[in-house]
Structure formats: C-alpha cells, structure tokens
Amino acid sequence: MPRELATTARILPFDRRERSAAWWLCAPTAVLMLALLVVPTLAVLALSFTDAELGVREFSFLGLDAYRDLFTDRAFLGAFRNTAIYVALVAPASVVLGLVLALLIEAEVSGKAFFRSVYFLPVVSLTVAMASVWQYLMHPSFGPMNLVLKAVGLPGVNWLGSSDNVLIALALIGIWQAVGFNMVLFLAGLTAINRDLYAAAEMDGVRSGWSRFWTVTWPMLGPTTLFVVTITMINAVKVFETVATLTQGGPSKASEVLLYTIYKEGFVYLHIGVASAMAIVFVGVLLVLLLVQTKVLEKQVHYS
C-alpha cells in the first residue's frame, strides 16, 4: 500500500512512522554515545579540575589552578615542546615526500601499481613491530644504518641513545611510516584532476613541467594538500607507539611526548586529575588544528 501521499502539512501517520523508525535505528548508537563518549568526556573535564588519584578516596577541587599548575610544570611544557619538534620534523617532510612520490608514480606508466604497493607497506605494518626493527637498524654498534654510514666513511650516530638525536630518530621512523599513506592520498587527488585542464594549459602555451605544476597541478591539489597536511599533523601529535616501545620518554625525557606523558601520569603514577587536565589540553591542540583546516578550507581552497 503506497504511503507516499502526504499532501498537507499536518503530521500524518507517515511522519510518525518515520520518526519512530529513526529512533529505533539510532537507539543503540545513542546509548553507546552516551556511555562511551558523552559521560567520559564530561568526566575528564570534571577530573581535570581536581587532583584526584586512582585508588585514593579523597581529592580536592582545584578549579583553574589545575591548569595554571600544568602550564608551569616543566615536565609538561617539555612534553609540549618535544611533540611540537616532532610534528615540525615529521609533517613537512612526509607531506612533501608524499607529494613528490605521487607525482613520480602518476607519471610512470607501467610500474605504478608495484611502487604504490611497496611504498604503502609501512602503513600496514605493525607500528610496534617496525619500531623494534628500527631499533635494531639504529643500534649504535651493529645496526645497519651506522654500518652503512661507516662504510662510506661517515661516523656512526647514536640514534636513540642520545638526547640530542632521539627526536630526529623517532621522526625518521615517523616519516618512513607516513609517506606511503600521504602518497596514496595525493595520488587520488592527482587522478581527480580534469585532464582537459592540462590540454588547455598546453594550448595556452604552458610548456615546462614546472609551469604545468604551478598552473594546474598545485592549485587543483589544494583541498587534497590541506587534508593531507591536517591528517599528518594530527597523527604526528598522537605519536605514542614508537616512544612507548623504544625510549619510554628518554633519554632524560628528551623524547617525552604529550600522549606518553598523559599515559605515565594517569596510568603509571595514577594522578588522574593531572592526566585529565593534560588530556584536555591535548584535545585542545587537536581542535585548533582542525579549526585551522576548516577556516582555510572556507577561505580559498574550495572550488567546485
């Protein structure tokens, strides 16, 4: 029996049916959202204003002092700084490399699928596992990386054991892992560019590959580039597995990053109040990154 014959504005049985069906469909999700998202978020927010500890009954309400203490805590600021350095090392390099690789692979006629898969391997490899492999590679005395350096006459580097180098070492691993993912995203963006634009550019007198890139490719990749940059930065801020596996924040807190600090404060030292405040700041950082992306998107990157 057809039910599509609503002709007036009053709520007909059809609308009621649609509404109740929708509620039933959403009910499980709504419950989960409440239990797994809303309540925990509020809880973290509440905890962040306290000095609660797991296992200790009493706690006091600190209010905004909790955050003030946090921003004067040298260890936390250190974690902030380390994470920023890590992101500054990983993000630009993996985005640029991803783009370069995508351009090279796009232009390549026959080896496309092969190279695409090879570069994508790190993305599907277990992070903890590959971190362990890199630990072996970066071993100061018998790790292949130093062996190769010594073979060409350069001195070996104390990759993970020196507080000056550890962030660079971790960044190398991060870049190695992220490049393939970015490459695939850029490839998708490149193939979506209307081929006629390149033909039009040729007719207009755009001759060199360099001009072609700046006249057509780069502007048309705008949305993709923005997306890749944002995703890369967000993933870099969330770095955890490599630190937890290889350095545990050391040597001397040189590789202590935000998530690792949150983990230690909350689950090793059990200071869940402090950890919650840190978590809120962490979310704040991510929020800022996402907001910047949205703003830039609205302003100039959006063409139809």
């Binding site: 209307n194 006629d196 634009l197 033909a199 039009a200 040729e202 007719m203 207009d204 007198g205 755009v206 001759r207 001009s211 006249t215 057509v216 502007p219 048309m220 705008g222 063409y303 139809s304």
Partner: protein, 388 residues
C-alpha cells in the same frame, strides 16, 4: 588560393584499434569546417592531432604553409575550446583569459606575482594584456563577470569565457571540440550564432567537431562527415543534405532519419521498389540497390498509381508545426516516416491504407556497398554475371 590548413593522410591507432584511417583535408583561409559523425568515429582524436595534443602515427599537418607535424601544441599557435570548458577553477575570468597572453608575452620571471611587476616594461606589458582581455570580454559581453570565478557562473557564461580565452590570442586557427554539447537546447541555438559571428570577425580557419548534425549543417561553410575513422564526404551543407555520396552520410544527416527501402535497378535503367517504378534513367546492369527518401519528400495520398508505394498508416504524431506519420511498408514490414503539414494530415486521419510518392530527384539510389548511384554514372564494379 592556397589552403590555410592541410591534413595529409593522417593515420592513428591505439594499440590494434585503428582510429584515423588516412584522413586528408584541405581548408581554405577563413573557412568554417564542421567535423560531424557518430560517437567514437575519431573526430575528437583528429582534432587533438591537429592541435598537437596527440601525435599521428603517419601523415602531416600543415598550417599556413608551415609543416607543424612535429611541433608541440604550445608552439602551433592554434586555440582550442573544450567540451568541458577547461577553465582554471582557481583563477578569475580575467586571469583565465589573460593566461595565454601572459604565457606568450611575458617570460617566467615577469610572470611572478609581485616581483614581476617591479620593472616598468613588465608593467606596461601587463597593462597591454589587460586591455586586450577587456576588449575581448566586451565583445563577448562578459565584462561584468571578469572578477568572478568559474564556479560562480552558469554553463553558458563559462562557455563564453572559454571562447574569450581562445579568441583573445588571435590564433591562426580555432579548434572546437563539441563546445555546446553541455548546454541546454535553447542556449545552444543562441551560442551557435555567436560562435559563427566570432569566427567571421576573427577571419581564421575554424575546425568544429560535433555529433549534432543539425549544428553542423547550420554553422559550417563545409561539412565533413566522418564515420569509422574516414571522412566519407566533405561538401557544403546543401550538398551533404541533398547529394550525399554514401548511404552512411545520408543516414547520419537529417532528422528524422532518412527512409531506406530495398529496391532494384531494372534492365532498362528503372528504379523500382516492390514492383513500383519510382525513377528512371540509370545505367548499368540489373542489380539490387537501396533507396533513400527523406521523410519530408514522401507525399501521402490516396490515389493508387504505378509510381506510388502502398503503405499502412500506424499513427500520426502531432508536433504543432508539422505532423509525423508513422507508416509500415507491407511489402517487407519495415517502418517508414513521413513529415506532413498539419492540413495535409487532416485528410488522412481515418485512413490506414495510403500511397506514398516522391519526385524523381528526391529518390536517392545507393549501391549494395553504400556508394551513391548518380544518374548517368556507371558503377565501379561490373560483375560478369550481370550481363546487361
């Protein structure tokens, strides 16, 4: 007069599939040639070869006396208008139209956004470019759109910008690849006139690709019908329509499609269909042929005569200014179409058995291989078994 554009024996295949099959064409200066054919016949490929965006496997392209076959597209000084307009989405209309001029008149350094403007000579060049852009925009009536981006405009406006980009350069030839197929019917008719007037004003060769035969007939000085990678016929629109040299040309041009009937040439040069004599004066042996009669040339009436074909009326379609009659030929069950004036049709409504006549010159005769039989012309193949 020397031709402005010469295509000589162009051949191209993609893998094992042949796309262009020895295409040759001479275009006189200032001529508008419409390249028309069904989808997949190779006309877009031909255009790209002429532009230099694709290379032919063999053959030459000569523009204004110079062999450009080995030149890349950017050096050939031709302009192209694309079906998808291919406007740079991130640039304004002004910048879109200015780009071809900037690429040609400014070098890499001068093109840089801020630094380039430091030299006075560069600034002068840029001002000259902008003047040309504004002049072109005025001619195309898009001046108020100059600071908009393509996404903010309608299809028709975008097409005019694309035309502006092509016209501003004053190239040696215009190449257009189905530029109007993405527009709605009313706009298309209007833009056709604009394109033709742009062409006249520029005074250079235009090669216009379309699958719409009406468009081709209406715009071109000469129409080239391309089917299966070959140019079957190139002639004025009237000649293409009334004097096609091949069945495929006759079948492709004209809407509604031409009626094809089986027929024979008798031993005394008469042309018959189902025993009715429709035409006479042809030469050659007795043989089977195909007759072509355009719907508007079929006159329907009720007088049975030796020269009229009996037909059965299925249905009349009233289209306002004319009436389409759907008919069946009882001799072989095939469907035919006739175009009538409304008052002609009024007398026919209640009759289902009719007769159709056509005057002799409107009966086109085609050999079994598709070539046209002209009056007093002997067909190429004379088989021994058909002794006269």
């Amino acid at each position: 007069m020397k031709p402005a554009l010469v295509l000589r024996n162009l051949v191209k295949s993609f893998g094992t599939q042949g796309i262009l099959n020895e295409i040759s064409l001479d275009v006189a200066p200032g001529e508008f040639i419409a390249l028309v054919g069904p989808s997949g016949c190779g006309k877009s490929t031909l255009l790209k070869v002429v532009a230099g965006l694709e290379r032919a496997d063999a053959g030459d392209v000569v523009l204004d006396g110079a062999d450009v076959t080995d030149m890349r597209a950017a050096d050939r000084d031709m302009a192209m208008v694309f079906q998808s307009y291919a406007l740079y989405p991130h640039l304004t209309v002004r910048q879109n139209i200015a780009l071809p001029l900037a690429m040609r008149r400014l070098n890499g350094f001068e093109r840089l956004p801020l630094i380039g403007a430091l030299k006075a000579s560069t600034r002068a060049k840029r001002t000259a470019i902008m003047r040309d852009v504004e002049r072109t925009a005025e001619a195309l009536r898009i001046t108020e759109l100059l600071d908009r981006k393509p996404a903010e405009m309608s299809g028709g406006q975008r097409q005019r910008v694309a035309l502006g980009r092509a016209v501003v350069r004053r190239p040696k030839a215009f190449l257009m690849d189905e530029p109007l197929s993405n527009l709605d019917a009313a706009l298309r008719v209007h833009m056709r006139a604009e394109i033709v007037s742009l062409h006249r004003e520029a005074g250079v060769v235009t090669l216009y690709v379309t699958h719409d035969q009406e468009e081709a007939l209406g715009m071109a000085d000469r129409v080239a019908v391309m089917i299966g990678g070959k140019i079957l016929q190139i002639a004025t629109p009237e000649a293409i329509y009334h004097d096609p040299n091949h069945m495929n040309v006759a079948g492709f041009i004209g809407s509604p499609k031409i009626n094809f009937l089986p027929g024979s040439i008798t031993h005394n040069g008469g042309v018959t269909h189902a025993g009715r004599l429709l035409k006479s004066g042809l030469n050659g042996p007795e043989r089977k042929v195909t007759l072509g009669i355009r719907p508007e040339h079929l006159r329907l009436h009720t007088d049975a005569s030796q020269h009229a074909i009996p037909l059965h009326l299925n249905r009349l379609e009233f289209l306002g200014s004319e009436v389409i009659a759907h008919l069946t030929d009882p001799s072989d069950g095939s469907r035919l179409i006739a175009r009538l004036q409304p008052d002609e049709a009024r007398d026919l409504t209640h009759r289902s058995a009719l007769y159709a006549s056509a005057s002799s010159e409107h009966v086109l005769v085609f050999e079994s291989d598709g070539t046209r039989v002209q009056a007093s012309r002997i067909p190429q193949q004379e088989t021994a078994s058909h002794a006269a």
